[in-house]
Amino acid sequence: MAGGKERELRRRIDSVQNTKKITRAMELIAATRVVKAQQRAREARPYAEQITTVIENLAAGGAEIDHPLLRKAEKVTRVGVIVISSDRGLAGPYNSSVIRAAERQVQNARSEGAEYSLIVIGKKARDYFAFRNYKVESFTEGISDNPTYEDARKIAETVAQLFIDNHIDRVELVYTEFLSIGSQKVATRRFLPLESTETIATEGGGDSKNTDSFEFEPSPEAVLESLLPRYVEARLFGALLESAASEHANRQRAMKSATDNAEELIVKLDREMNRARQDAITTEIMEIIGGAEALGDDEQPEDLVPAGAEN
């Protein structure tokens, strides 16, 4: 029936319009969050930089000790993979790409003949790995949106402890780097063992330019001893903040294109509905004319159809 089709289209337009309202709201929320997350990532940078500067100065002072976090295993029997994903979906390819990179690390470990331990942050990665019967060693949720230093400290402590206890011999960190609002990239970084202090010094982002010899209290070794765990925490915290900013940027982009698609669909459906309505009207007129003609010549059908209405 012709009127039925029109009604059905109207219902679809209403539903697309509701969806559009939701995606639009999500887009706006993500847009404000990405700014906030970006600012937090920026504010956290001085600490990481200064810690690196201290390590640089320590390296220049010749401090090199046998810290457990610097231990390089001769044979890697178990690889830890930290993966930072989000708790909620609708963020475009954000979760799937970071999960894929993490899965690749697990496969690498297996092909080296090593076991793996997954340290998972965010529900999405947990669901993925749990569904595929991967063993998840540790799982944290509810922090990926807006991570605090305390969260980073707890996870870093757990991981460092596993490493120090020889439970895992190498740790890879898989997260999403926030390059700019329009560009984020999945990054896989060696998390533990730490590079030697010299390597941190030459590769780190610290700003030490002076080559003065420093005084250390209580001793260079003691400073390094309490510094390295902080360095590990700061690195994880930085990765968490960048991932949070990336998540919001991805969600904003995904929701923007969803809103655009909804708009396009509404225009298309609107046209279809108008055509259906016009069709229904035309059909009705034809039926009237047909009916009038069938009644015979004495009825004068011209009176029923005003001039020009058949067009």
């Binding site: 937090r40 504010e43 956290a44 001085p46 600490y47 990481a48 200064q50 810690i51 500067t53 201290v54 100065n57 320590l58 605090t148 230093y149 980073a152 400290r153 030490s208 002076n210 003065d212 010899s213 420093f214 005084e215 250390f216 209290e217 209580p218 003691a222 400073v223 309490s226 510094l227 902080r230 925490e233 700061a234 915290f237």
Partner: protein, 130 residues
């Protein structure tokens, strides 16, 4: 002559300003005061206060629960994941924490966490009343 002081936490730079002298306490080393022109220095801070004496003579006191101090040139940075300014300390909460920690310690004198909590609470009270 003054120098630049920064208190940096992992989340942000919490304090930044000029100072004439900074007094801190390092692990094993005891109290140490820095004035402009101090030799480059890196130290591990004890659970203690950090005092910043500003050029106008006023003092800002912070409770620093752990961290490092680095002196380089005309700049002092205090890196700490827990530092609180004396005026921002919640005295009643610190007193509560102190009582809790003391109660725990009286039950088990080897409770390391309670001992740490007690040291932190005492530092907070001391800094807040300074």
């Amino acid at each position: 002559m003054a120098f630049q002081v920064e208190l940096v936490s992992p989340e942000a730079i919490t304090y930044s300003g000029e100072a004439e002298m900074v007094i801190a306490r390092t692990v094993e080393g005891g109290d140490i005061a820095f004035q402009p022109g101090h030799v480059p220095f890196i130290g591990v801070l004890a659970v203690w206060s950090v005092e910043v004496i500003r050029p106008d003579g006023d003092r800002d006191v912070f409770a620093v629960h752990r961290g490092f101090v680095q002196v380089a040139g005309t700049k002092i940075s205090v890196l700490s994941d827990v530092s609180e300014k004396s005026t921002e300390i919640d005295v009643s909460r610190a007193e509560q924490a102190k009582e809790n920690a003391e109660a725990q310690l009286s039950e088990n004198s080897e409770n390391v966490e309670a001992a740490d909590a007690l040291a932190r609470a005492e530092l907070r009270l001391q800094v807040a009343n300074a």
